[in-house]
């Protein structure tokens, strides 16, 4: 839950949108016009800062940003999504 709330905060701050009603299946990529290349990079940078992790860029795929749930799972365990 803590992870999810922190991720909602990151998305809300970077994309400047209300994320309070985001659930596991909420679509992100292709659905949120705010999620352009610039915001993707800023979200990734902020995730690394907030969650004190270093994402292996080579593992990054579009599916990780498909839904809120996918992104949350990717942060919790980048190798399992």
């Amino acid at each position: 839950m803590k992870y999810n709330q922190q991720l909602k905060d990151v998305l809300s701050e970077i994309l400047n949108i209300d994320t309070s009603n985001f659930i596991h299946s909420t679509k992100l990529l292709g659905e949120l016009s705010e999620l352009d290349s610039m915001s993707i990079v800023l979200v990734l940078i902020e995730i690394e800062k907030r969650f004190s992790l270093e994402i292996d860029i080579a593992d990054l795929e579009a599916k990780h940003f498909e839904t809120f749930g996918n992104l949350a799972s990717f942060i919790k365990n980048p190798l399992t999504v």
């Binding site: 990529l29 292709g30 352009d36 290349s37 610039m38 993707i40 990079v41 800023l42 990734l44 940078i45 292996d56 860029i57 080579a58 593992d59 990054l60 795929e61 579009a62 599916k63 990780h64 940003f65 498909e66």
Partner: protein
């Protein structure tokens, strides 16, 4: 040809026939024919002509000669048309690289690189030639459906082409550069990532190369191809920053402005080879 409408299939086939006919001639003849066709198209395209002339006047406010402006507008159109066609027979093209020792060290280091390139002459010559040099080039393009054959041109030259229109295209680029890739992005067109000054006018620009450099922690380079009088190309490669760009929108903007300063110099050096007919300032 799958998924294309009848008219798109006809257009795609027509392109293949045109390329086949061009390839029956030597390159000098192909250039002459392409230049002739381009002059004709340009003459019957008032919007393209007007846009080119307006752009030239923005970039060259001191140029008083209308004849010179008109000459540059039509010549640049000829170079771009020929340059696009050159993609289809890139294996026939001779080219050399020009770069300083520090840049050469970065290119040959085997590490990931973010490269900003531009629409100058044969503008895919940069990724194609760099692929021969490094073997791990990715680029981004929005290939119209009727020109689906262009995808096979990228494949033929060993270049991975990410479709710009696909959701998550930028994530694919991140994945490539994260796997030690060399990512070449055309960066002189209009974009909405950042604001900067281009020939004394505020405009939007893409910031892909700066963002890739920042996040993947790579050097940032510029590369461009210039057609020579003997019909060979020189691929110029220059280092913008040996170190990764800072991880903030301000840092991206600063880096892209530095790139655009260099673009201005290059464009003024080769004005007859830059794509002036595009609606750059919006």
């Amino acid at each position: 040809m799958k998924g294309l409408t009848l008219s798109q299939r006809i257009a795609a086939k027509t392109i293949l026939v045109i390329i086949f006919l061009f390839k029956l001639r030597n390159r000098a003849a192909r250039k002459k024919i392409a230049f002739g066709i381009a002059r004709l198209i340009f003459a019957f395209s008032p919007k393209t002509r007007k846009r080119s002339i307006n752009n030239l006047r923005i970039a060259m406010p001191d140029q008083k000669s209308d004849d010179r402006i008109r000459y540059l507008a039509v010549t640049a159109y000829q170079y771009i048309v020929f340059g696009v066609l050159e993609n289809f027979w890139f294996e026939d093209i001779e080219y050399t690289f020009e770069m300083d020792a520090a840049t050469k060290a970065l290119i040959t280091s085997g590490g990931p690189l973010s490269i900003a390139t531009m629409h100058l002459s044969c503008y895919e010559a940069v990724p194609f030639a760099l692929q021969k040099l490094t073997g791990r080039v990715t680029t981004l393009s929005r290939v119209p459906k009727f020109a689906a054959g262009l995808h096979s041109v990228y494949a033929k030259n060993g270049v991975c082409c990410v479709d710009k229109s696909q959701a998550g295209a930028f994530l694919s680029l991140l994945g490539k550069i994260g796997s030690n890739g060399v990512v070449c992005l055309h960066s002189d067109h209009f974009g909405s990532d950042t604001e900067l000054d281009f020939f004394q006018l505020q405009t939007g620009a893409p910031a892909g190369p700066a963002m890739l450099s920042a996040y993947a922690k790579t050097p940032l380079l510029i590369a461009y191809a210039v057609l020579q009088k003997d019909n060979t190309y020189i691929i110029h490669i220059e280092t913008v920053s040996e170190f990764p760009i800072g991880q903030s929108p301000k840092a991206f903007q600063f880096a892209m402005q530095a790139i655009y300063r260099q673009f201005e110099t290059i464009i003024l050096q080769y004005p007859e080879q830059w794509c002036w007919f595009y609606k750059r300032w919006r």
